[in-house]
Symmetry: C2
Subunit: 164 residues, 2 copies
Amino acid sequence: MIILGLDPGTALVGWGIVDTGVAHKIDTALCLGYGCITTDKSMTDSQRLLAIANGLESLLEKYKPELVSIERLFFSRNQKTVMSVSQARGVLLYVIERQGLAMTEFTPQEIKVALTGYGKAEKLQVQKMVQLLLRLPQLPKPDDAADAVAAALTAAQTVRLPRK
Amino acid sequence: MIILGLDPGTALVGWGIVDTGVAHKIDTALCLGYGCITTDKSMTDSQRLLAIANGLESLLEKYKPELVSIERLFFSRNQKTVMSVSQARGVLLYVIERQGLAMTEFTPQEIKVALTGYGKAEKLQVQKMVQLLLRLPQLPKPDDAADAVAAALTAAQTVRLPRK
């Protein structure tokens, strides 16, 4: 199963693709790619949202995932950040729904527990576990991308789709 | 100028269309329609976002507005509400940007000042001013729709687009 993980943001949307194969084996899962959809500070909110949607559409076309795993927001400090990240998240959900893709959501804590066994794990621990589990030659960076791969791995561990 | 006003929400997105004519006269402006895009509680977040986008696309196709005026979020009580309304708002901004439409944003306070001269006006005062300014036969309801017409009227008062 090909799973796309997403870590929503305004400036950066982290993404990561994990393939668990036809047999859906986690321990031999492959990382097909990871990175960030980036938008520029000079853009308006709306332009950023359009760039994010276009970036996601390109990923869906290239990797054809069967499942999308998207991180839930779970913070409260800066209301302005909550608003702008939620706007980006809304656009991601919309594009996924419009294409009729299966989708699952996890809180940052659930992802940390799934990968490290500890809900308050540091970013670096998550990056190291992603590297270890997928046998990557280097630490996945930036942490937005690593978080997205982690979201995909969490889905791989917990979600079973009906076989076609 | 045909202006679409929008009041974002998850269950309800208020909308209102104001036409200031070729001469862009506020005092003879017409209300071409108002209402709400509604989504159902039984739908998932993503399904609601898709329904909202589809609803907006229908309005754009039917009324062909030259300008969209959208209410900014300006509250802080319930973080969950802020997140879900922001997600809806993100989808609205995305659809508007994708169609290359001119767009302007106002806070609820700016809209109240524009219509009633008072930033803390009650919902009913806003509804009454919308009715008065547009010579409507009845009070516009629900207040989400009235707020959307008010957003369109605020834009009519403040925005000048270059003539084609």
